[in-house]
C-alpha cells in the first residue's frame, strides 16, 4: 500500500469517528441530560433478532425491563412485549451542529425508551451521554492540541531563528516542562486555577491547562527544523534580497515545519483527550450535568457502582477506536515524512 494512501485511509477512519460524535444529536436517541427517574442503573438492553418462538426478524427488537419481584435493582427482560427498533424516526428536539433545529434520530422505539448502554443513577441514557460527551472531550483535545502547537511553534521558531541567549533560555524552560511527569504538571497548573466554575468556563480552563503542559516537545522539534532550514541556500538568498524576518518565517520556514507539526498533532490529540478525561474523572474538569468522557467514568469511583453496575465501565472503551485511529495516522505520517526525506536527500546529492 502506498504511503499517501495509508494517511488518507486513517484520515477517513478518523473522519467517520469524529463525524458520529459531531452529529451526536442524530445518533443519540435522547437528550443527554434527560432523566428517567423510574429506571436508574438499568443494564444495557440486548438487541434481539430471534424471538421466543425461534422466528428470525430482520429488524432487531428489544425487550423492555421489569423489576424482578422482591428486588429493587434487579431487572428481567419482559419477553411478552417485543419493541422493534425504528430507524430514522422522529424523536426529541435537538440542534444539529449546535444551531440546526431537528427532530430526526437514527433510531428509537415506539412506546418505550431503549437504553443500549444502560442508564446511570438518574436514569439518563448512557449512549446519548457518551455521544454528547465526546463533543466536549474531543473538542477539548483538538483545541488544546491546536493551542499547544501554536505556542510550541512560536517558541520553537523564535528559539531556532534568533538563537543566542533567547534560544538558551527558551530551551532550558522547555527542558523543565519535558522533565516533569505530565500528570504532576497538569495537577500543579490546575491547582492554581479556580475550582468552582460553570461548565463553559471549566471547559476553556481545561483547554488552557492542557495546552500549557505539552508545548515543549513540539517547540524542540520545530526548533531543530528551523535551525537546519535557516542555513539553507534559498533562505539565505531571500535574506539577501532584503526579506524581513517575519516574511522568511512565514514564506520559507513555516512550510518546512508542517510535517513535524502534523505528526505532533496526531500524537498530541489523543493524549489531550485523555488528559481531559483524567481531569474530569478526578473532578477537576467539566462538571455535571454536562457529559464528558471523563465525568461519565467518575461514577466508577464509588465502590457500589463498581461492584453492581459493570456497564458503567463501557464508556471507557470509547477511546480505543480513537486511539487506534490517531496512532495509525501518526505512524503513517511519520513514514511519509521519512520517505520524503530520503527522496529529498537523494535528489540533493545528484551531480
Amino acid at each position: 500500500m502506498s504511503r499517501p494512501r495509508k494517511v488518507a485511509i486513517w484520515l477517513v477512519v478518523l473522519g467517520v469517528l469524529h463525524g458520529i460524535v459531531l452529529c451526536a444529536g442524530f445518533f443519540a436517541p435522547y437528550d443527554p441530560v434527560e432523566q428517567d427517574r423510574k429506571n436508574p442503573y438499568l443494564p444495557p438492553m440486548r438487541l434481539h433478532f430471534v424471538d421466543t418462538r425461534g422466528q428470525l426478524h430482520l429488524c432487531p427488537f428489544v425487550y423492555p425491563f421489569q423489576l424482578r419481584p422482591g428486588t429493587f435493582d434487579q431487572y428481567l427482560e419482559d419477553t411478552a412485549q417485543p419493541h422493534p427498533l425504528r430507524f430514522f424516526t422522529s424523536g426529541g428536539r435537538y440542534r444539529l451542529f449546535g444551531f440546526l433545529p431537528a427532530r430526526l434520530h437514527f433510531f428509537g422505539a415506539d412506546n418505550t425508551r431503549i437504553y443500549l448502554l444502560g442508564t446511570d443513577a438518574f436514569g439518563r441514557d448512557q449512549l446519548s451521554r457518551l455521544l454528547f460527551g465526546g463533543q466536549v472531550s474531543l473538542l477539548a483535545g483538538l483545541l488544546g492540541a491546536g493551542f499547544t502547537l501554536l505556542i510550541g511553534w512560536c517558541i520553537g521558531a523564535a528559539a531556532g531563528f534568533y538563537g543566542g541567549w533567547r534560544d538558551d533560555l527558551l530551551m532550558r524552560v522547555a527542558e523543565l516542562f519535558l522533565a516533569l511527569p505530565w500528570l504532576y504538571l497538569l495537577f500543579a497548573i490546575r491547582a492554581f486555577l479556580p475550582l468552582a466554575v460553570n461548565p463553559l468556563e471549566a471547559f476553556f480552563l481545561i483547554v488552557a491547562v492542557i495546552a500549557a503542559v505539552g508545548w515543549a516537545r513540539p517547540a524542540r522539534l520545530v526548533r531543530g527544523v528551523v535551525l537546519s532550514v535557516k542555513e539553507r541556500d534559498f533562505v539565505c538568498a531571500a535574506r539577501g534580497f532584503g526579506a524581513s524576518d517575519l516574511y522568511l518565517l512565514k514564506r520559507h520556514i513555516l512550510p518546512e515545519t508542517s510535517s513535524v507539526l502534523l505528526t505532533q498533532a496526531a500524537i498530541l490529540i489523543p493524549q489531550y483527550v485523555l488528559a481531559e478525561m483524567t481531569l474530569s474523572f478526578l473532578g477537576l474538569g467539566v462538571p455535571e450535568p454536562v457529559p464528558s468522557w471523563g465525568n461519565l467514568l467518575s461514577n466508577l469511583q464509588q465502590y457500589s457502582v463498581l461492584v453492581s453496575y459493570w456497564w458503567m465501565y463501557l464508556p471507557a472503551l470509547i477511546m480505543v477506536p480513537f486511539f487506534l485511529g490517531y496512532l495509525g495516522l501518526a505512524s503513517a505520517l511519520q513514514e511519509r515524512a521519512e520517505t520524503y526525506k530520503i527522496k529529498r536527500r537523494s535528489f540533493g546529492t545528484l551531480p
Binding site: L180, P181, L183, Y184, L317
Partner: protein
C-alpha cells in the same frame, strides 16, 4: 569519573531548582487562596483572615515567599500545610513511601519483562514471535491507562482474584511478618499490573528498535564467527551497545510511571501521593501541591542520575569520552 558524576549531579540540582521556581510562579497566577473559603463563614472576622494571611506570609511579595520557602526546605519542612496545620515534609514522606513502593516495583518489573521480550523480538525480526509481540504491544498501546485501570478494577472486583482498595488488610497488624509481606504483595498486585501493562508497549518497542539497530553491526558478526553462544552474544554484547537510547528511555519511563501511578492510586485508592495531592488541590493547600511536584522531580532526577551511572558502567564509549573530554 568524578567530573562526569559531578556534572550529572549539577544538572539534577538545577532541574529541581527550576521546577520549584516554576511552581512558585504559578502560585502568583492563582486567584484566591486557602483562606478564601472562610470569608463566607460569618463566624470568622475579616481581621482574623487578614491576620491568618499575614501569619502564613500570603500577603508578602513572591521573592520573599520563595526565600522563606527555600529556608523551610533547608530545614526539612518544605513549607506549611494549611489544612493539616503541620509542616509539609512529614505528611508527604508517609505518602511518598507508598508511591515509591508502587513506582519502583513497577519500573523494575516493566524493564525486567521488556528487555528479554524486546531482545527476543529483535532477534526474530519479522518472524512469528516478533509479529506476536508487535501485535500485542499495539493492542496494549491503544487502550488508554484510565480505561485499563478501571477495566482491571471492574474485573477484579467481580472475580475477587485480588484484594482491591488500600494497601493492607484490616487485620494487618495481627499478621506474622511473612504474612504481612504476602498481604502487601497481594494488595500491590492490581496497581502494579496496571502500571506495568501501561508502560510495557513503549519499552518493548524501543528495546526492539535499539537492539535491531545493533544486530547488523560488524562486531557482532565477528563475535558470532568466534563461536560465542547466541545468548551471550545478545545480552552481553548487543544489549550494552544498544544501551544509550534505552537509558534516556529509563528516565522517561520513571516519569511516565510516576504520572500513571498518580492516577492509578486515585482509581484503586492506594494511600500514596495521588489521593493526597488531589485533596490538596481541592483545598487549595498550595505548599502541599508544590511539595508533591518537587518530590516527583527529585525522584525523577535521582532516577535519571542512577541511569546515567548505569550507562557509565555499561557503555565503555561514555567512559572514554568523559575521561578524555
Amino acid at each position: 569519573m568524578m567530573r562526569y558524576l559531578l556534572r550529572r549531579l549539577a544538572h539534577a540540582f538545577l532541574l529541581v531548582i527550576g521546577v520549584s521556581l516554576l511552581a512558585f510562579l504559578f502560585t502568583t497566577l492563582a486567584p484566591g487562596n486557602y483562606f478564601d473559603e472562610m470569608r463566607l463563614n460569618p463566624q470568622i472576622a475579616p481581621e482574623t483572615l487578614v491576620a491568618l494571611r499575614a501569619q502564613y506570609q500570603l500577603d508578602r511579595p513572591l521573592p520573599v515567599r520563595y526565600a522563606s520557602w527555600v529556608n523551610s526546605v533547608l530545614h526539612g519542612e518544605m513549607g506549611f500545610s494549611f489544612a493539616y496545620n503541620t509542616p509539609v515534609a512529614p505528611l508527604l514522606l508517609v505518602r511518598a513511601k507508598n508511591t515509591l513502593l508502587l513506582t519502583v516495583t513497577a519500573t523494575l518489573l516493566a524493564w525486567a519483562i521488556a528487555l528479554p521480550l524486546g531482545v527476543w523480538s529483535a532477534e526474530r525480526l519479522g518472524q512469528l514471535p516478533d509479529r506476536l509481540i508487535s501485535w500485542s504491544t499495539a493492542a496494549l498501546l491503544v487502550v488508554p491507562d484510565l480505561a485499563l485501570a478501571l477495566g482491571l478494577l471492574v474485573l477484579t472486583v467481580r472475580t475477587g482474584w485480588f484484594p482491591t482498595g488500600g494497601m493492607v488488610s484490616v487485620d494487618f497488624e495481627s499478621l506474622s511478618s511473612l504474612n504481612k509481606i504476602r498481604d502487601l504483595a497481594l494488595h500491590m498486585a492490581l496497581p502494579v499490573t496496571t502500571l506495568v501493562l501501561s508502560a510495557l508497549p513503549l519499552l518493548v518497542r524501543h528495546v526492539r528498535a535499539a537492539v535491531a539497530d545493533v544486530l547488523d553491526a560488524p562486531f557482532l558478526l565477528a563475535a558470532e564467527g568466534h563461536g560465542i553462544p547466541r545468548r551471550t552474544l545478545l545480552f552481553r554484547y548487543a544489549l550494552p551497545a544498544a544501551a544509550n537510547p534505552l537509558v534516556s528511555l529509563f528516565g522517561f519511563s520513571i516519569g511516565a510511571l510516576l504520572s500513571g501511578s498518580l492516577l492509578i492510586e486515585v482509581v484503586m485508592s492506594w494511600p500514596g501521593l495521588g489521593p493526597f495531592l488531589l485533596e490538596a488541590i481541592l483545598a487549595r493547600d498550595i505548599y502541599v501541591v508544590i511539595g508533591g511536584v518537587l518530590f516527583s522531580t527529585i525522584f525523577l532526577a535521582a532516577g535519571n542520575f542512577l541511569a546515567d551511572m548505569l550507562l557509565y558502567w555499561v557503555d565503555p564509549r561514555i567512559r572514554t569520552a568523559s575521561t578524555s573530554g
